[in-house]
Symmetry: C3
Subunit: 130 residues, 3 copies
């Protein structure tokens, strides 16, 4: 954002993404907000858990749009990543949704334990829930 960093620069944000394909209208904005926050020099992690993990299965985000005629969710995920957002997948949520490691899109930076999420929640500056 140029030479002048905002007063909020460096804040750590975790976005807990619990929405998935059963509510497509909830699946684009969280990544857009993550992208915006990262563009404002926040350190942003998006943590997929609960139904959100389904968005990380190959073929899902590539073929899902929040709105009829809207861009696919993978577009928003990639824009967030390009802005510097890190993407985490909740390992304990994987068996319930029948997802194996090899099913996960390459955009995911790390498959992490629930303890990692809990630690992020305690240590971050802001936790967001969608």
């Amino acid at each position: 954002m140029g030479a002048v960093r905002s007063a909020e620069a460096g804040k750590r944000v975790v976005i807990v993404m619990t929405s998935g394909p059963s509510t497509p209208h909830r699946c684009a904005t969280p990544f857009f907000i993550g992208m915006l926050l990262a563009s404002m020099d926040a350190e942003v992690a998006i943590f997929f858990t609960m139904e959100g993990v389904l968005l990380t299965r190959r073929g899902v985000a590539e073929n899902l749009a929040a709105m009829a005629g809207g861009k696919e969710i993978i577009h928003f995920i990639r824009e967030a990543k390009e802005a510097g957002v890190k993407l985490y997948m909740c390992r304990p949520a994987m068996p319930g949704y029948d997802i194996d490691d090899e099913d996960i899109i390459s955009e995911i930076d790390e498959v992490a334990s629930g303890g990692v999420l809990a630690e992020m929640i305690l240590s971050c500056d802001k936790a967001l829930f969608f």
Copy 2:
């Protein structure tokens, strides 16, 4: 709240309202909580985004109740406003829900960018998500 202000007075709270008419049971309480927080001298903003923006279209909140026989959602919106809550509408969410500026209820204080929401999230004391 009288001469004695609480220890929490002046705290800034943003309530991100993502629920809308498809989940009416989620549409009253967020305004009630906003009203309570404002009554405790917090500075409260409610930011409508995602499906929440539909509640700002004329005719929607006036004809929707969270519960059968309950008061209409507009009642809760107005109570929040009377307690001092400011209401923001997410401009980037408007086209997807086919909402124009002239469609919006007069209770909305400001139509704002996603950057305004991001800045609120970073700078507030507490961010709530419904």
Copy 3:
């Protein structure tokens, strides 16, 4: 967690549980996260409100699972409690869901006003929303 307490020990967390039987896949993880946070020496309160209050009616959490074949929700509620999580029920939400005091499972520590929730939200270190 043994003799060494984490840097995050003693942080106060409130988990606002708004999901209920209409979205069973959202009903186990919040208690699991509460249990994890309490195990990391956070002081955790789970506050049932909106549809979440239905989980406190006798017979509901005992017969609901987040996933086909998964453990019943009451199991996750009890694990959270055993880890030290306190459970609060939102009194103003009870009439709308037709719940009386005698209907509530014994795991609930306190039936509380909306003002208690608002105060928790203002005074906690982290507020989580599911």
